[in-house]
Symmetry: C2
Subunit: 310 residues, 2 copies
């Protein structure tokens, strides 16, 4: 059981109403790796610059993640993102983006990364995603994307979606991509392109799974303390895709997908409790299991007969 | 088991991307009554004008709702509301409001309405709600409100909230009322005022229940066809409060509240499939039961052991 993730490795400067970090480890591939490493052998593929040091590698290697395919670009600077959040933590306001080595990233997968059972294409330019997909021998491929590519590279994104098994997007992005306001219709349109599985990420409202076999809705875990939402979506994806990778990537039964949603939701809920990777880097498997159980409890109801009137 | 609802009875003119109705029965008390009438004896209290005819009374009396306390104001005009929705069906754009007889409504409850086990105060000026609450002998009282009263009559609204057992509001209203962005904290603040039960209505994302005993989150039923969201919140409230009234209003156990949420969600999902009261007026108990079962199915997952890595 093995999983390759290709995406950004970054330094983030983030201010929320609850604190500030001037330079912390971030990036989609990092958050994804930390979450998925609970489930399977993870290989992370992404570029870093000279400013990326042993301390950052150590975090990336949490729970055994393999960093052999992290590409160090001599003389380069690691992708840097500065943003702030208002009290509405659903919206990140980007203040600065310096792509650095990520701007010219051409992912080269080692044979081991090509041969992983499962591939996750984190949010990158869709041509680049498709190039990676073509190198890979994975049995199950999932991708994330963003509004920027829907606006500037929609044809390429659609071509890439046609080659994958699973799409994870915000529900606003699903609507934007399809031009359909109704999520059920929009997800069906995406599935008609090829992917069997569509996951709509809904931020503080949780996530929804839409497949031909059915629908599954899971609220976010209710938290009293949310310090930094950065990376929540990638942590969710890491838990979701990681869980599927633990099953070899070829068990896509409805209940397995539902469980994967729960693991993604559980890990994402820890992620936002603290800044950046702080919480998930020291998260224990007992804590993950406990929160999955709590998610079960807070969504569970049993109908009891009630005499309805005609 | 009996339930009194006090609120608006209206004619609505509504345009959505999927159709137009120039004059249809609406109003919070109407949608609430139609939903709650599945569960218990309902008495509806609200004012109507000369334009309110036998056809409208007939709809209001669906499943035996008692209209003895509907106050006909001679020479008056029934509350009229005109609105349109864009493709984002979450936001109603009000084009015209003529309060008519609702503008000077001073609810007078008959002895039977006072003695109902359960009282629902639909969205009205909070002074008026409090006056009704003081007339009532109900064991369980719930209220709805809106942003207008939070902005213009917040002190009065808080005084009214202090006298009830349950508050149902949109999550944006809960945040606005408390000044707290975090829903868990905001709901606790409302409970500190008196109510044991807070329900956050979340539109297309469903609803959340927040009590001292716990949290319950339920997604909305996924629909491919939504023609008119008008009345969804009141239908939800009618199903929720109606279910509690069927249990005499004094079973507030967590599982009973969760089931009540499911019945509210199920009926609200039917409400939005067609315009105004069209769908719920002819809804059958079998259909309600069926959708509650579907809600159970689409939220159910069973954890399966997975070997997490340390």
């Amino acid at each position: 059981m093995s999983l390759t993730v290709v995406g950004s490795i970054a330094f983030d400067a983030v201010t929320t109403p609850f604190g500030t970090r001037e330079k912390m480890l971030g990036g989609a591939a990092v958050h994804f790796s930390l979450a998925s490493s609970f489930f399977t052998d993870v290989r992370v593929v992404g570029p870093v610059g000279d400013d990326f040091g042993e301390a950052e590698y150590a975090v990336l290697r949490t729970r055994g993640t393999n960093t052999d395919d992290v590409e160090h670009v001599p003389g380069g600077e690691t992708f840097f993102w500065r943003a702030h959040y208002e009290y509405d933590l659903n919206t990140a306001h980007t203040d600065d983006t310096r792509l650095g080595v990520f701007g010219t990233f051409e992912p080269k997968l080692s044979q081991e990364s090509k041969d992983a059972d499962v591939l996750f294409l984190a949010n990158i330019q869709p041509d680049v995603q498709r190039g990676v997909r073509e190198q890979s021998n994975a049995r199950f491929v999932a991708l994330d994307s963003m509004n920027l590519w829907i606006e500037t590279a929609k044809d390429s994104l659609i071509k890439t979606i046609e080659t994958v098994d699973c799409v994870l997007l915000n529900d606003a992005e699903i609507r934007q991509l399809t031009g359909k306001a109704n999520l059920v219709q929009a997800a069906r349109e995406i599935r008609a392109l090829g992917p069997r599985v569509v996951v709509a990420k809904q931020g503080e409202y949780g996530a929804a799974l839409l497949t031909d076999e059915g629908f599954f809705g899971l609220p976010a875990y209710p938290l009293e303390t949310v310090n930094d939402p950065t990376g929540a979506g990638d942590s969710f994806a890491g838990g979701f895709v990681g869980y599927l990778a633990a099953h070899g990537g070829d068990d896509l039964s409805h209940q397995t997908l539902c469980r994967a949603m729960a693991y993604g939701t559980a890990i994402a809920s820890y992620n936002v409790e603290e800044f950046g990777t702080e919480r998930v880097a020291r998260l224990t498997r007992e804590e993950v299991t406990e929160r999955v159980g709590e998610l079960q409890r807070i969504t569970h109801f049993v109908d009891a007969p009630v005499a309805l009137r005609a």
